[in-house]
Every structure is written in C-alpha cells, then in structure tokens.
C-alpha cells in the first residue's frame, strides 16, 4: 500500500481518509482546518491513475485506523465507568462486554464519583437512579452452582445487585468443570457488595487467601461464613476475615486441611460476637486451637460442633472448664477422645448452661463418662447418643439418675442397651422426661418380666421406637402401664408388635393419643386400628399406617366414624380399595388435609367422586404408584382440586 501513497500526484490522488495516515508529513500544506469537516474537505477528486486493488469504502477506512475508541486502555475505561452512578446505567454497561464487566466489578464504593450537576440550582432534585445507595441493604440472595459458578457470573451479580437492594447472601457451589470461580470473582464481590451478610463457599479449589482477603476488605458486615472443601484457604485468609468483620456470628469449617490452630487463636482474640462454630474434618486443628478458642475471655460461644478432628481429652477438659456459655454441644467421631475426656468434661463444672448434648461415634463415651456428664450439667435438657457401643444399661440408668432436668433422650444404634435399661430409664426419670426415642437398637429382646410396682411416669409425652427388632408385645404392655400420658407414639418397623400389645398400650393410655405412627408394623391388623380409633379417635390428629399390609377397608370405615380431628392420614401400601375411600368420603365433619394412598394398587378410577369430595379440604394428596388410577383421572383431579398439591 505504501507504494501507492508514494505516488506523487499531489492534487489528483486524494484518499477519503485522514490525511495523516498516508505518511506524508512533510506536506504541511495539507494541514487541514480542524473541526468535524475534516473528512469532507478535499479538493475534487479525479479518478485514480492506478487501478487500485482495493475499494474506497468505509471498511477500508476502518482497517487503516489503528487506534480508536474501542481500544481504550483499561485505566481510561476505569475512569469513565467510575463516573457512572450506581443504577440502571451500570447494570447496562455490565452487559456490554466481558471487559467492561470486569472493569466495573473492580470499582469499589469509594471510587465512584458522582458528577456535579451542571446547573447548581437543581442540586436538590435527584436524577433517577442517582440516589440509590451503593450496595443497598442486602436484601437479595444468590446461589451459583456447578457450571454457572464462574467469575463472570459473580461480577455480573456484584454489579447488578448493587443497585437493586444489595446482595445479602451468596452461596457458591463449585464443581470440577473448566470454568471455575477464582480470586477475581471474589474480588468483584468484595468491591461491589458491601452489605454481604452470609457467604458460603463449597468445593472450590481455585480460591485462596487472596480472595478471602478481598472479601474481608470489602464486606465488613459479614455475619456468617461457611467454608467446605476449600483446600487452598489457609489461616491467613481466615484471620483477615476474623479481624475485619466484627459482626461475624457463625462460622463453619469443613474439610479445609490448611486451616488450623493459628486461626482459632486469632478468633479467640478478635471475635467478640461469634456465637456458633462448627469444625468438621480439619486435620490441622488440634487441642491448642480449641484451647485458645474456649479459654479466651471475650468470646462466648453458645453453639459448638466438633466432628472428625484429632483433638484429645485435653480439649474436652478445656470445654468442660471454660464453656460457660455453651448451650448446644455436638461431638462426633472424635477418635482420640477417651473415657477420661468425658469424665473431665463433666467434672469441670463449666458447662452450666448446656441444654443439648449430642455425641456421635466416640469410643470414649462409656458409663463412667456419661454419668460424669450427667452430674456436671445441671441444666441438660436433651441428649442424643449415636453409636455409643460401649454404653450399657447400668450406665444409662445412672446417667438418668444423675441428671435433674432431662426432657428428651434419644438413642441411636446403642446396641448394648436392652429393655432393662429402657425400663430403668422410665422408672428413674423423675417427673421431667418428656420424650424418648430409640432407633435401631438391636440389643432389645422381648422378655416377659415381672416388675416391681412403681409409680407411672406421668410426664412422658412422646415415645418413638424405630427399627428395634427385639421390641415386642410384652415390652409394649409394660410401657403402656408405665406411661399413661403419652400423646405421640411412633412404632416403626417393629415386626414383633401385634394387636394384643398395641391394645394393652391403648387401653392404659389415659391422656388421648394425638399422633400415632405405626408404619411398617406388618403384623398389625384392622382390629388394632379399630380399637385405636374407638378409644382415641376423639383426639387423634395424625395417623400413619404406611406399610401395614393387613389393614383394610374396615379400618377406613372405623376411621371415618370416629376421628373428627384427623388431618393427616397415611395408608400407603395398605390393602385399601375403593370402598374404603368411599367410606372416608362419607364421614361427617371430616377435615382431612393430607392423604397418602401411594402404592395402593386396588384403588381405581371409581374413587374419583370420593376423592373429589375429600378434596374440598385436602391440601396434599399422594397417589404415586397407584397403578389402577389412570392418567386421565389424575388430570381431572389436578384440574378440579386446584388448591391441593397432588403427587402422582
């Protein structure tokens, strides 16, 4: 091309573009007057003498322009964008291009400058969008998962929410895809969302301390932080958050191997508002950290959860001594804790306010340990023990004797507990125990026992026995006599329970049962159900007979006659036919809200009118796996029972 321009025809070869591109600066006579007419002022052109291999048109002109408005350097773009007030315009610019979005997201609140209004007298009138407070009050919440979790989305969220109320809650679930969230994304959030209150980061290996420091600098109103599987984050990042966010109240760390004791001691020193902490599976956390955390004077933790850590008896000793404000304590899977730990914790006399204790698979929880805990926590109301394989009947009974305020006892998979222990609890619990629950305790054997007469436990309201195969009629009848004020009974998956046992329980009950769950007790028949509704129908609100194969239409008739308050009925997998449903529909004063017929293959389309009649009060209907109900019936039901949520 330069050859063409080297052609020295001064007047008759005039390109349409800027003259300066032609590389003939010596020709000062071609110095043109300024103004928008630059491109237009030219002497009249003659045709070019050379057949040019190009065409005179706009495209050619653009090719020659090497620099123009789209190649603004970043700092100029930053200056322009930072003059835009928060509002519609910023959100629009965020959608223009990726570069603009990233630039916008880097502007933090202090860098936005509002332009002075041109006419001073209108300084009181506010233009639309100009007065929106940057960052807002934090009303919005956003959640990014999987493929959508990218820096660009984060930047867009940061810019977009700033003018629409502000981002209050953000949760990011990473994935193993190519496009991930990195520190840039967190930086955008830090700059753009000063009102962020809750942040949750799961499974993001590409974020490290830098990102967290940006958040700490920008989002100083952070209250909840939840980190799970972020291996690149170390103490440094978390310490920054702890120091700069004085409102931090909840902290949860899971599977972050690089966060350790240093961070916990920093928390102990700087966080005065932290109330709840949960640490799970962080291999670097040890006794030292826990000790610093609890022994600090300005930190009053009330909810503590420690799971799968390598801490030892020392930590429990510290908790027992210093945990003055702890109300909920959860200790799961602590392999290095032994009986001594629990004993020291109980004897530390510091856990005065402890209300709820949950202990997961810890080999350290033995009879001695549990008894010490019972003695040392005078306000303990609820205890939940899972997989305490070393706990025996004696230990349980002595624990119950030692506590003075226990209201709820839950045992799960404690296989050394048998009915002796269970009954021991009932005899010794005093008048405070309200709820007992046993799940999967295989140590139960149904034995006929002759028991000494003792006063019944008037306070027990809720009994729940789930999947304990040895539980049978004998124990049930004893239970019935011992606990006459039960309102909530759950006997689930108990093959050993038959009509006679249930009958004795029902007869002894004086208070009136409100919620009864007999799911999967396959040996119960209509007789049991009829007696149940005859005796207790006037208080019964919830009845669950899921999986009781031997229950049939006769029960439905009985239910319809006797249960005016019933609002939740589950007869899934029972032998119910259309007659039964018809009987239900005919009940007077029936106020059924939730009905579940899933798996009842004998219910067919002929039940449609009955279902419609029931549907006037129904809010939820489950007809999954009802093979005899055709899809047209289902559609009709859906159409007509518009208030009802139908699962089919």
């Amino acid at each position: 091309m330069s050859k063409v321009f080297g052609f020295s025809g001064v007047d008759n070869f005039c390109p349409g573009g800027s003259i300066y591109a032609c590389g003939n600066p010596k020709e000062a006579s071609l110095f043109l007057p300024l103004g928008p007419q630059v491109d237009v002022y030219f002497p009249p052109r003659k045709r070019s003498r050379i057949s040019a291999p190009f065409v005179f048109n706009g495209e050619w002109l653009e090719q020659k322009q090497k620099t123009s408005i789209e190649s603004l350097p970043d700092e100029c773009l930053f200056e322009i964008l930072r003059r835009l007030p928060a509002g519609q315009d910023r959100s629009a610019c965020a959608c223009v291009s990726k570069r603009w979005l990233m630039c916008l997201s880097n502007i933090c609140k202090s860098e936005i400058c509002c332009n002075k209004s041109a006419a001073p007298q209108s300084s009181l009138s506010v233009k639309e969008g100009d007065d929106e407070e940057f960052g807002g009050e934090g009303y919005l919440s956003r959640s990014l998962e999987g493929k959508k979790a990218t820096d660009i989305r984060l930047a867009a969220i940061a810019v977009g929410t700033a003018s629409r109320g502000g981002l209050g809650k953000l949760s990011i679930r990473g994935s193993n895809s190519d496009r991930v969230v990195t520190n840039l994304g967190l930086k955008a959030v830090g700059h753009g969302c000063p009102s962020l209150k809750s942040l949750s980061l799961w499974n993001i290996a590409t974020i490290d301390d830098e990102g967290l420091i940006e958040i700490a600098n920008g989002c100083q109103q952070l209250e909840k932080l939840d980190l799970c599987k972020c291996p690149a984050i170390t103490d440094k990042g978390l310490i920054a958050v702890v120091r700069k966010c004085p409102n931090l109240t909840e902290l949860s760390l899971e599977s972050c191997p690089n966060i350790g004791n240093e961070c916990l001691s920093a928390i102990g020193k700087s966080c005065s508002n932290l109330k709840s902490i949960a640490i799970k599976d962080c291999s670097s956390v040890g006794d030292q950290g826990i000790a610093c955390l609890f022994s600090s004077t300005n930190l009053l933790l009330s909810k503590v959860k420690l799971q799968a850590l390598t801490i030892s008896d020392l930590s429990l000793a510290v908790i027992g001594h210093y945990g003055k404000a702890v109300t909920d304590l959860v200790l799961n899977s602590l392999p290095n804790v032994s009986e001594r730990g629990f004993w020291v914790m109980g004897n530390g006399n510091g856990l005065q306010k402890l209300k709820s204790l949950t202990v997961g698979p810890c080999l350290g929880l033995t009879d001695v340990g549990l008894e010490a805990v019972g003695k040392g926590c005078p306000n303990l109301k609820a205890i939940h023990l899972r997989k305490s394989t070393l706990l025996s009947d004696n230990g349980l009974v002595s624990f119950v004797k030692a506590t003075s305020s226990l209201e709820s006892l839950q045992l799960e998979e404690c296989h050394r507990i048998s009915q002796l222990g269970f009954l021991g609890v009932l005899f010794n619990c005093g008048a405070i125990l309200k709820a007992i629950s046993l799940t999967s305790c295989f140590g139960f054997k149904d034995l006929n026992m002759v028991l000494p007469p003792s006063s019944p436990c008037e306070s027990l309201r809720s009994l729940s026995i789930i999947n304990c195969p040895g539980f049978g009629n004998a124990t049930l009848s004893v239970l019935g006599k011992q606990c006459p004020q039960l309102q909530h009974v759950e006997l689930s998956g108990l093959n050993g329970v038959r009509d006679a046992g249930l009958l004795s329980l029902l007869e002894s009950n004086e208070g009136g049962l409100v919620k009864v769950n007999l799911s999967d007790c396959v040996n119960l028949t209509d007789k049991a159900v009829s007696s149940l509704v005859n005796l207790h129908g006037w208080t019964l609100e919830v009845l669950n007979l899921d999986g009781c194969k031997n229950v049939s239409d006769a029960s439905m008739v009985a239910i319809a006659k006797n249960c005016p308050l019933l609002c939740d009925l589950d007869v899934s997998k029972c032998t119910i036919t259309d007659t039964g449903i018809a009987a239900l529909a005919e009940a007077k004063q029936f106020n059924l809200q939730i009905l579940s017929l899933s798996g009842c293959s004998l219910v067919s389309d002929r039940s449609l009118p009955s279902l419609k009649k029931l549907g006037s009060t129904l809010l939820g209907l489950n007809i999954q796996h009802c093979n005899s109900i055709s899809s047209s019936t289902v559609d009709m039901l859906v159409e007509q029972l518009w208030r009802c949520d139908i699962l089919s």
């Binding site: 408005i69 200056e79 315009d89």
Partner: protein
Amino acid sequence: MELLCIRQWISGLLPTVKKWLSAWCIKPVGGALVRQEPEYILLALMGSPLKKIMLCSSEKEIFSVEEQVMVQHSVIINNMIEDGSYNHEESKIPLDCVDSKTLKKVIDYCTHHTHHHNDNQEDLEAWDAQFLNVDSNGLYDLLMAANYLEIRNLLDLIYGTIKNMIKGKKIDEIRRIFNIKDHGFTPEEEEQNRKEYPHFY
C-alpha cells in the same frame, strides 16, 4: 539595549500586559502592581509569560505556545520545565504519541482556558461543548493526548462526555458506538443477560 528603549518597549506593552496579568490571577493587590514604573513591571514579568516553548508532534510539526499556558494545564510539561531539562533556547518537547491535529486542539483548549479563566461558568461550558463536538476517533485522540500530557481538567471533561455518551443508551447502541464486535460472553451468558435485563437491549 538602553534602558530608555526597554522602557518604551515595556510601556507599549502595558495594556496587553495588564490584560495578561489579570488573566493569570496576578491581580494588583492594593494597587501595588499598577504602578506604572516599567522596572517593576519588568520584575514582575521575569520568568515571563511571554516565554514560548516548542512542542513537536508525531509528524514532526513544531508548535509554539506560551510556556505559562502549558505549564498551567499539563503536569508533564510543568515537571519538565521545573526540573530544568528544558532549555528555552534550543530544545523542543517531543510528543511522539500526539499527532498535529490533536496537538493543535489541545493547545487551543489550554490557551482558551487560560485566557478566559474569568468567564462565567456557562460560557466556558458552552465553549467546551463546542470544542468536543468531534467524531469518536477525534475524541479518542484527544483523550490519549490529554492522558499523556496529564491535563486534568481536559481529561475530566472528556471522561464526562464519554460517560454521557453511554448514559441512557441501550446495550446494542453502546456496542456500536464503541465498536465492540466481540463481547466476550459465552452464548449462555449472553442469553442469561438478555433474559435478566430485556429492557436494556
């Protein structure tokens, strides 16, 4: 030169000098500088605004402009002159990234603002608006020049103008103005944006 000639020369210049003096805020305080003695005026004018400096554009064109004008506006030039690297007799300041047309405009701006410093706000703004009535390439060139020379108020003016070009426009228009052909979003992201902000497109 004999003192008498100097006196005559300076007296001839007095009216113009007074005008310049008022323009550069060297206001006569309590009548002190209004003394007509030429020697005083000469003293006051030492290091004088009559000094010119040479600016050389990328096309090797030389522009001569009053030193005081450029020093007032351009931080770069001010620094160059203050630290003495500029020799008034010989050197020219090379500005290789500014072409002649833009340089002339920049000089225009600085000169006008220096001389019309005392005009009221509305007139100055009207002049500025007229000054910036160029196409986007011209604007870009001015921006680059102002950025290089660090002329703060011209930069603010241009940024404000570009910001006004963006304000209130739809995204497609903005992309056209700034000639952004490749927005860099993936198709899903673009789709998402269109759904979330349909009124911007």
